[in-house]
Symmetry: D4
Subunit: 193 residues, 8 copies
């Protein structure tokens, strides 16, 4: 990572977004972020030196605050130099320290914390004054990716449009269900499922 940080790469070839999680057992929850980014047209970059064609990309790592603190430090310290603009960090357990330690180390890069379990919320969100992190609800990695994209969209209007498009699809979906349930009546609606 430190080598990549020194490489002084062209920002268009580095991932905009880093997704890290405390363990590969968090992947089922965290893959919601990948789903959202696919939906929004991001590509996953698996080789730092070889960017995919897509304009916006993300990378994925497993980093454990408690089992590999050195790796966490290295990732956080080099994040800005490696060209990242925002980090999504997820962790489980009661002492879900990856998101907030990363927010402390990578500061002033914004970090969106994802509590992987309900019991991780307090630990992710509970930062002292002066040490900022923003968090989403337990398990809501999909929303974390939307929020991270909202942050990037401050600079990239193209992403704003993709967010609006996604939302319009969502609204149509709810409206259609609403009409169906009303016009068919509850019983027929349930039978139709």
């Amino acid at each position: 990572l430190r080598a990549e940080a020194d490489a002084d790469a062209d920002p268009e070839t580095t991932p905009e977004m880093g997704i890290i999680m405390g363990s590969d057992s968090d992947l089922d929850v965290m893959s919601g972020a990948h789903d959202a980014l696919d939906e929004l047209g991001f590509a996953e970059q698996t080789d730092f030196r070889d960017a995919p064609d897509a304009r916006f990309t993300y990378e994925t790592y497993v980093v454990s605050a408690h089992r590999t603190p050195e790796l966490m430090y290295a990732y956080g310290e080099t994040a800005a130099e490696r060209g990242l603009d925002v980090i999504i960090a997820g962790a489980g357990g009661k002492s879900a320290d990856l998101p907030n330690m990363t927010a402390s180390i990578a500061y002033p890069l914004p970090v969106v914390g994802v509590p992987v379990q309900e019991k991780s919320v307090d630990s992710v969100i509970g930062m002292p004054t002066g040490a900022p992190i923003v968090a989403v609800d337990a398990g809501k990695s999909f929303n974390a990716a939307l929020s991270a994209t909202q942050i990037l969209a401050r600079r990239h209007e193209e992403l704003e449009e993709r967010l609006v498009e996604y939302h319009e699809k969502l609204v149509s979906g709810v409206a259609e269900v609403s009409r169906d349930i009303h016009d068919m009546g509850v019983e027929s609606f349930r039978d139709s499922r």
Copy 2:
């Protein structure tokens, strides 16, 4: 508000950040955001048509989700057109709906939610998939302002520098206290306070 939205104002003359809260009784908690923004060189804009000299400004409103739902709707709908880039929304009570309803209405503008009381955390953070909000811990309006500035700093490098400066002051403070407590010993340190 709707008139201001139609005014098509020059983005340099409109506030970048909007601070809204559910009641003026939330002001004691929410003024932490004002403290942080003062610290970072933002100015408060009290007349939409007459911008202060400072490059970065914010505005403040009281908006109640449950007592003035129309006002909340108007604020959220016009936020982007009125030139805002990020909203900090705080509310208290168990049903602290201002932050998340505003996030839904002002989408895709990013909203940083501040639960004004401990019991407001669940209501602020608990959005369904597809409707993003990011939140800070209960009462941490100071950190909300830092986070909102981190978001703006994606586009304005000047703000990144201010964030770093603020942090360096913070670190020196802790380091100094640490040296004092160690070198004086606990008893003398306490006496010196």
Copy 3:
């Protein structure tokens, strides 16, 4: 909905009760309300312009506070004009805003809130002073329908009678089980099941 509101329909042909829920995934919980209303002789009205024969009717919609805030506003604002007398609103998640936002918008129409999950109770019930909602316990949509009928029964004595009839059946059921368990003894009673 706004067209229906303007239609100035005869109150006897419009639904007395509106049942709304945040998502069709809430239907399993909310269908308890439909069961209770069937039990009490209500009919479901699936076409606003074509009332069923039954004197008392209800309608069903899916409305999401966070994904379709405009739809929620439209429903709440037109409810009284469309002839509704009481709304049952259910939502899940920690930020179950549909019931209380609807109560704020449809005021002074009474709204009975149904927290679809245990974690939704605080958000549904926690309204500030001046913004009323009444709520039932998590998942108790059946009771919400009884309560909504108790409200209607203030004006329609016929509904009072139906409520009493329902209750008498309930009491007989408990009394019968009690006699069985006592007279058969616990072991035989269990075997008989």
Copy 4:
């Protein structure tokens, strides 16, 4: 109470609303209901046989579920016959049984439960299927009175108007504070208080 129930009084001379609480130590919390009813033009009736001039009235009793169960039974059983249309029942402690026992006994009269303490919420709201109660949030006796009035307003249009008037005053208040805080700026606003 039973004598009054037998008296077959003219409904216009009996209280529409009964307010009961588990102990006179609950009065500080429950007096919010009295404030709201005063605001809405209700009068307190202190002599069942001598109604005040106001069209809408309420009465107040202390009834303890656990220390005076007989009194609670008598009150609930005679409520309808004594001319009441809706009961507001408040109780504190973890086992706040007055509201829900009264709801069970006075059925099908609607009862609005007020948990006097935060820890009373579960006990007030947690009724089994078939035994309805509606509840407001802990301590929100003011809102309970608004809700009870919403119920009465199904039959008495005059009350609907009073509810709307009250709400308009409330909205103006918030709007005024919002304008002040925005136009004066946070610092001046605080100084002006």
Copy 5:
């Protein structure tokens, strides 16, 4: 029940212990009490007028506080006259009022409350000063029966002996397992299971 209460039966022919529960769905949890009483040599009395041979007996009823408040009242009021010495009352839900309402009505007869679910504990135990109940932990109907027997044993030395015998069996069981796990080692012990 009232007839039985008037019957003035010989205390040796009436059940010493009454077991009541809020619903037959509570039976799976409450049958622990029956198991304990079987273990201690009690017999179930299924006909009040026809006592079994065993010296100590119990009876079982389903009584719902919220669905059959009159039945609960009748049971509590007649308990002492019907010859009961102690009542075990179990109920589920958040508003588990059967145990404490029965304790209030049957006073000064001692009542051992059994919260059928974890969420019932607060409601069962939370009585105001002056209205006594004693409770066991959620679901611990077996222990409730032991405790009720401890109460009876104040007067009947024979029961004290049975309690001691039961306990000795229990201790031997633990001691045997302890020796096995130590002497076999954990792995062999687990294989032997």
Copy 6:
């Protein structure tokens, strides 16, 4: 204590009830038990060899489960032989082990546990199957004394009468307050206080 246990004293000269608490800092909470016993005519016995005149007496000790486990064992083991019929044991903290360890050691003597703080409830009540304790709510030492007296009253009819007398006074008190608040109206009632 062991000497007293061997003394084989006349049961009429030994205390019926033992009150123990984990620390003298629990005394403010536990003195509710002394108040109740005074009310019911019990006397405190301060010298085991010199009984007061009153027929029913109690004694008081401070015993810490965690700081003086030997003392706790000695007290529990000798309780029955020293003539006690029931023990009231109170403890604070999250690990309030005095009541349940005493219940385990003094078995089959009944023990009424008093959680001195809210956070002590779980620890006091949470016994495994086969090890009975009964508990009252946090801080309710007054009720614990009533419950312990209900247990003794199984054998001593005189105590049953005293319990009934106490209760009648309590009921009159509530009834009087209820009449006052109704007849005076809320405002005058508050002024009269």
Copy 7:
């Protein structure tokens, strides 16, 4: 146990570590400690008089605080004399008294408490000032064994080395997974599992 304590055995032949649990139903959770000790080269000693060859050994017992308080007392009192250096004690339920009672009795021997269930945490950790215990998180018996070994390692450098070796394996594992997930991309990584 008392005989073994008197035996004055050579410390090299006695177990360094004692593992006790409240019930054999706790074994599934507690066997994590056995796994960790196996990993670190400890052997289980199943006969106090016949030590295995391994330099470091442990023993296992089932001891119930509430069902066999005498056994718990004997174990704690003799622990130091029997040559133990540290005890790992696990218990479940809300009143998980085995760890803290053992810590009180075996003092000044260090005891590492393992709450077997989430609800046991408070009871295990909540000791009063002056009565020390240290605890791990619910179910983390594996970590308890690591911690107990850290304690022993203060005296036995060989154990320090084994702890470091274990950790290096752990770190390599995480690093490998991290590289795989990054280089393969999330989708391929999941397919490869």
Copy 8:
């Protein structure tokens, strides 16, 4: 710190115990550890190069996980080389990461975590498998110092004796209070205070 670590100091001249806390606002809670160490004859070492005469010493630092992550890293990494044998680490807030991050970095040195507030318990105790920490209850820094001394006492018999002496004083204190409260009676005892 790194210079001190390289200094290769004589273990008898370096502090055995390091006390660190997240902020000087934690000092009121953490000074319990200092009180306990004073009681046990430890001295505070305020100059690493100039040891006090006492055989056993400790040092104190303020280290913030979130505001000064580099300092935390440096402290943890150098702890063993600087001659420390055990670390007591306290932190407040919901995300009390100092104790567990230090435990991860300083591994295999044992760390005793002190949650400075009740809400810090989960975050301190909740480590993943493979990353050990032991914790005491919220605010119990006094006990943390006793536990840390128990750990040191595995190697230094002298400390074991001091622990026993401290405990004997504690027991005498409780016994004296117990005798007073019993022999004086509750009322006189309270008056004597």
